[in-house]
């Protein structure tokens, strides 16, 4: 299965800018479906970015993050060709991870 995570990490020499787009319904648990029944909550709770063996960014999310979430941040360090590991886990225990090369 194709990864749910799409990442672009670009190094400017000093800092690395990371943009990530994840496929996930991010159901908050407050929205009703066409039949008027509540759609149970289903959202990513934690998203972790790891570079060189340590976390460079940890996102804790609630159900109010938009569907197919997008996040952008930057960190100091990171060279072209370095690996960036991204992983998420949702409230149902599902998870996914991928590794991206810094460009």
């Amino acid at each position: 299965m194709a990864s749910t995570i799409r990442v672009r990490a670009t190094s400017s020499g000093e800092t690395t800018e990371v943009q990530a787009l994840i496929q996930h319904p991010m159901d908050s648990g407050f929205v009703k479906d066409a039949k008027g029944e509540l759609i149970p909550p289903h959202f990513i709770q934690q998203l972790i970015f790891e570079h060189d063996g340590k976390n460079v960014f940890v996102a804790d999310w609630g159900g109010a993050v938009s569907k197919d979430p997008y996040v952008k941040f930057a960190f100091k360090g990171g060279k072209k060709g370095d690996e960036l590991k991204i992983s998420w886990v949702d409230n149902k225990g599902a998870s996914d991870s991928t590794t991206a090369k810094i460009q």
């Binding site: 908050s28 934690q46 960014f57 940890v58 999310w61 938009s66 979430p69 941040f73």
Partner: protein, 164 residues
């Protein structure tokens, strides 16, 4: 004729006892062995904070303190959001030693939307997209040098992001 059936019973009893003991060990393991290990990890999900309805309660549950207003936080959000399901919000700060940044929507059913941990070396500038039920204050909270700061901006929503 009685003998074999008694043996079977005894065996079954032993198996059941064994299963019970195993179950107890497993429960004990979960209670005393595994939970502290998970809690000790530096990336525990703050479930309680995300369940709070009110923004003040959520900030308290997350940081254990209250925030003071600061003009050193930049909260980038639209004046008017046409679609409450996707509201682009960015937070950045010029405060030194930022360790955490959170975004809350006061009028959402659960105020806390996202909380970001900023380890040393990561730049305190985060952009993401969030859902807003209706017109509301968006609050950005920044923890820097052990203190808590916040800034607020009202975003008008024309179509709510919660099935409205």
């Amino acid at each position: 004729m009685n003998q074999p059936s008694e043996t079977v019973d005894a065996t079954r009893r032993l198996i059941l006892q064994g299963a019970a003991v195993l179950a107890l060990i497993a429960i004990a393991g979960i209670r005393f062995g595994l939970t502290p290990a998970v809690a000790a990890a530096d990336a525990k999900y703050p479930e309680d904070a995300f369940k709070q309805k009110n923004s003040d309660d959520a900030i308290k549950a997350l940081y254990g303190k209250t925030a003071e207003a600061s003009d050193k936080i930049k909260l980038d959000a639209p004046e008017i959001a046409e679609n409450g399901a996707v509201v682009p919000v960015a937070v950045s700060s010029t405060l030194p030693d930022v360790t955490s940044m959170s975004i809350l929507v006061a009028e959402n059913p659960n105020a806390l939307v996202a909380s970001y941990r900023i380890p040393a070396g990561t730049i305190p500038n985060v952009a993401n997209r969030l859902k807003m039920a209706k017109t509301s204050n968006v609050i950005a909270v920044v923890e820097a040098g052990g203190k808590l700061y916040s800034t607020t901006k009202e975003v008008k929503v024309t179509v709510g992001g919660c099935g409205g």
